[in-house]
């Protein structure tokens, strides 16, 4: 937690209401997001119990597994879920252009669009999935993993849509690991990034409590609203784990009723029992459904950050590439990454992480303030500038303007460090000197009594910077390409310096240090087996 967030939390606790800690919304919100709230059966890894989903706040759709311990029922449920989710995704896919086949090998490194082949122009929009919390996203990942390798013929065959759903869910889950991606967005994560509450991170993972702090009901403080939210009767958990008391006192009885009815082949009783279970599960899910759309509205009310669109474009590109890969009959995602695939993926994740950090700081002064507090950035006024300075030492004369920025921020940069200014992102600024500003000359016309307050305080720090880049080729900087005298500027060590993607050996050339070349991956029936399934 940064100092600023810690401070905002203290303020939130004192005021009884969450504090907004961002000036803009750093996540893109889809035009018509699909809200998915899964529930699982306690005591089993990845046994789906129910899901409430839909893209219209007024029309949630409930899918239930009446006997989650029965594997066959689970896959029937997966087929039902596939119908809804794939139906939603279809709305974003191009109608039918079978000639478009430049998909490359995107499936080898899912979660990213491929960038070796010329990237196809991403589709104009992509379906966003909103889930309540990271555990719900993890549940969808497991569901994807347990369905994407199923066979559609022979023994234990499933409907063809089941493995297809698994591959899409896997794609969404893998994309969610990419820093800055919002294709699959856990709501608590998105809210906690923008608001600081008076409770711990652990408590923030409860959607109802978090929203209680951000938007308490009339007449309640955040503390009171969060406390009410901890009552599982009033606010059933947002899943995927259900409330144990509900399991014992309601769920078990209704499931038993269904078992009894199906054993006695009593069709009307079975229908009644199933309706009763649907009603119970709907009661557990409906409050979270309301919360999800309330949270969505709160986020939507914030103006979107400038770079969110860039990241969303990457999300759209990944969706487009995955769609093309599936259309061409590409293989499902393998169980494990090979040595080369893992190393490549890590390099890209780190690259995206760095980019995200830079973009957030550039988009949002409150994020930049966190860096200013740690000394990794400073803001100040240009007090002197030599914008026509030319460096003639090298073979060719180069335009290298100097700026002197005066700041009262704590500056920890050392001479030689290279900084950037968010307003001039393509321009590098090398630190030449850092000196403590003296009173001489600056305070001449101040009255004595004004000086008394800060008798021993340094007036600030003077940082001399040498600019390069982003000023054209001529030996005079065109107006507007550099900061000018008296401008207020921010300089930071955060840089998004372009690095070419690191080269790795091909799969076939995996060296002996990493186990040698892996055997070619061919999906088999065994892949679908889990130790716990």
């Amino acid at each position: 937690m940064t100092l600023l967030t810690a401070f905002a939390r203290v303020e939130a606790a004192a005021a009884g209401r969450a504090r907004l800690i961002r000036t803009v919304r750093h996540v893109h919100l889809g035009r018509r997001p699909l809200v998915v709230i899964p529930l699982q059966l306690a005591g089993e890894a990845c046994a789906p119990l129910a899901v409430l989903l839909g893209d219209d706040p007024d029309k949630p759709r409930l899918l239930t597994v009446y006997e989650p311990r029965d594997r066959a029922r689970r896959f029937e449920f997966a087929a039902d879920l596939a119908e809804v989710i794939l139906g939603h995704l279809d709305g974003y896919l191009p109608v039918d252009d079978a000639s478009d086949d430049d998909a490359g090998d995107a499936g080898q490194d899912t979660g990213f669009s491929h960038d070796r082949a010329p990237a196809p122009e991403p589709l104009p929009d992509a379906p966003q999935l909103l889930v309540p919390n990271p555990n719900a996203a993890a549940f969808l990942r497991l569901l994807g993993r347990s369905t994407r390798l199923r066979r559609t013929d022979g023994e234990y065959a499933v409907r063809p849509t089941v493995p297809l759903l698994g591959r899409w869910l896997t794609h969404y889950a893998e994309r969610a690991e990419v820093p800055g991606s919002v294709l699959l967005l856990p709501m608590t994560t998105a809210l906690a990034e923008h608001w600081a509450t008076g409770q711990s991170d652990l408590e923030d993972a409860n959607l109802a409590a978090l929203l209680g702090w951000i938007d308490p009901a009339e007449g309640l403080t955040g503390q009171q609203a969060a406390r009410l939210a901890e009552d599982p009767v009033r606010c059933p958990p947002a899943g995927p784990v259900t409330d144990p008391t509900f399991d014992n006192e309601v769920l078990e009885g209704r499931m038993q009723a269904i078992r009894d009815a199906s054993q006695s082949s009593d069709a009307p009783a079975l229908a009644r029992a199933q309706a009763a279970m649907d009603a119970a599960l709907h009661g557990q899910l409906a409050p979270t459904w309301e919360l999800m759309w309330r949270a969505h509205a709160l986020l939507a009310a914030l103006p979107e950050a400038a770079h969110a669109e860039r990241r969303w474009k990457d999300d759209r590109r990944s969706f487009t590439a995955q769609a093309a890969w599936l259309r061409e009959g590409g293989a499902p995602q393998p169980r494990r990454d090979s040595a080369v695939a893992a190393a490549k993926r890590l390099a890209r994740l780190e690259r995206e992480q760095q980019r995200l950090a830079v973009e957030r700081a550039h988009d949002d002064p409150l994020v930049m303030a966190e860096y200013r507090l740690t000394g990794e950035a400073f803001a100040g006024t240009v007090v002197d500038a030599d914008l026509t300075r030319v460096d003639t030492e090298g073979k060719k004369a180069k335009l290298r303007p100097w700026l002197i920025v005066r700041t009262t921020d704590a500056v920890i940069v050392e001479p030689g460090a290279v900084l950037t200014c968010p307003d001039y992102p393509s321009q590098a600024a090398k630190v030449i000197h850092v000196t403590t500003a003296s009173d001489n000359g600056d305070n001449d016309n101040h009255d004595d009594h004004e000086d008394r307050d800060n008798d021993n305080d340094p007036v600030g720090t003077l940082v001399t910077l040498e600019l390069s880049g982003g000023m054209g080729r001529a030996l005079a900087a065109p107006p507007g390409t550099t900061p000018g005298l008296a401008d207020v500027v921010t300089y930071t060590t955060l840089r998004d310096d372009f690095q070419p993607a690191p080269q790795f050996p091909s799969r076939e050339e995996t060296p002996w240090t990493h186990g040698g070349p892996p055997i070619e991956y061919v999906p088999t029936d065994d892949d679908a087996q889990e130790p716990w399934s």
Binding site: A343, L346, E350, T374, G375, Q503, F504, T513, H514, G515
Partner: protein, 442 residues
């Protein structure tokens, strides 16, 4: 152990390791505790392989390390042509440029007739014009290298000697993911870990004596951080002395801490219990104040290197911290005291370096909780094993209680070997030792 005995043991170990190179099918791993003569081994191995007519590539991790190594190598073997492969923008540092037998180039082709070529892992990874492989590579600081970096350079060599200190900080990544945990080629684990998981037949040797750590420190560091391999100090208590040119006028708690450190090799300078920000103003002031006082008192050392007292110059004093902001704060505090050349850095950046006296700000000082980051054994080990004479630990009271309140609660993952030493246990052992050297801040 007398110095002669230590030298004999070290030589035998090195001979055994070099002997095993001839029979190695793929490579050899050498674990080297702090100051155990790792560079000496690398230099000897490179020279012997070169003498046998083999071409050797040496993989370092940072430009700084590479330059240090070249300096050693070129000085010990002035007749061996050494290639320094580097980015085009690299300007040879003074210590490299001083050697006639070193040539700095940006492409391998220009160094074809150099039997020994040295570069960073990052540079080796981007070579384009490579038409043949090297029969031998020496990978230095291999425990600091991430396995994905090894993946990028492994195509260049047939066999390799991996040398490094297993007790130091593990390589890290800016992204957090559990995706590859338990995989034999987890790109986030160290090069040596992946190498040994995939090639269990590779022999692992270790160097037996530390030339850096004094007799007061080696058993403590060995027991806390190297519980299974262990090592001994090469010197005896009587070989090393830290003394002063002046007597204090009056005596404050700084002087008491300095005296304790001079007498026993350790001091715990304990501030009152309090929860603080990372940049705890009092603790920062204590670190800077102790360093300034050490200079004022005119510290001198006597060691096996010189029977005459040598002054402890500023560059032989280091202040080790956990976070960059702390380092910046300590530097600022030192500047205000008029001290500029004392080395202040984070544990990551002090790895592999050596000083006469170190002052460390304890990673858990002033904290309310003990997270995995702050409990990491490697970080504490780096900070506690940089000194030849004495180490002064600055900390707020209450660390043993904090540890008791936060037992390690990291999840255990299938297929991931349990890591030793355990950070929590190492911290406890270290604090238990320091308790005997406590000086309370006035």
């Amino acid at each position: 152990m007398s110095i002669e005995d230590a030298a004999k043991r070290a030589r035998q170990a090195t001979d055994r390791i070099l002997g095993s190179l001839a029979t190695a099918s793929h490579g050899v791993v050498v674990d080297s505790p702090p100051g155990a003569g790792k560079s000496t081994l690398v230099v000897r191995a490179a020279a012997e392989l070169a003498d046998q007519g083999e071409r050797v590539m040496i993989v370092g991790q940072t430009n700084e390390q590479v330059d240090d190594l070249i300096d050693r190598l070129a000085a010990d073997h002035p007749d061996t042509p050494i290639g320094r492969l580097s980015a085009a923008a690299y300007l040879p540092s003074e210590r490299v440029a001083a050697h006639q037998n070193v040539a700095a180039r940006s492409s391998v082709a220009e160094l074809a007739d150099h039997p020994v070529v040295v570069a960073t892992a990052a540079k080796w990874a981007v070579l384009k014009d490579v038409d043949r492989t090297w029969p031998w590579a020496i990978v230095d600081e291999a425990y600091q290298m991430r396995s994905d970096a090894l993946l990028r350079v492994a195509r260049l060599f047939d066999k390799a000697l991996f040398v490094g200190d297993p007790g130091q900080l593990d390589p890290f990544s800016t992204v957090e993911t559990e995706r590859w945990l338990g995989l034999n080629w987890d790109p986030m684990s160290s090069a040596v870990a992946v190498l040994l998981t995939n090639n269990s037949h590779i022999p692992v040797h270790s160097l037996p004596v530390s030339w850096r750590l004094p007799a007061s420190a080696a058993p403590v560091v060995s027991a806390a951080f190297y519980p299974f391999t262990g090592f001994a100090a090469a010197t005896e208590d009587s070989d090393r002395r830290l003394g002063w040119n002046t007597r204090p006028f009056g005596q404050n708690s700084f002087d008491l801490a300095l005296e304790t450190a001079a007498r026993t090799g350790w001091a715990l300078f304990e501030l009152g219990h309090r929860h603080t920000l990372p940049t705890d103003a009092e603790a920062i002031a204590a670190c800077a104040g102790l360093a300034a006082r050490l200079r004022q008192r005119g510290a001198v050392t006597i060691s096996e290197r010189s029977p005459e007292p040598l002054p402890v110059t500023d560059d032989r004093i280091a202040i080790g911290v956990t976070r960059t902001v702390q380092a910046a704060a300590v530097r600022r505090a030192l500047r205000e005291l008029g001290v500029t050349d004392v080395v202040v850095d984070t544990a990551n950046r002090l790895q592999g370096r050596e000083f006469d006296v170190t002052i460390m700000l304890h990673p858990l000082s002033g904290r309310r909780d003990a997270t995995a980051f702050h409990l990491e054994a490697g970080r504490l080990c780096v900070l506690a094993s940089r000194h030849r004479h004495a180490c002064i630990v600055v900390a707020r009271a209450g660390i043993p209680e904090l540890l008791d309140a936060h037992p390690s609660a990291e999840p255990v993952h299938l297929g991931v070997p349990v890591k030793f030493p355990d950070g929590w246990e190492a911290h406890q052992a270290f604090m238990a030792h320091l308790a005997r050297h406590r000086v309370c801040a006035a």
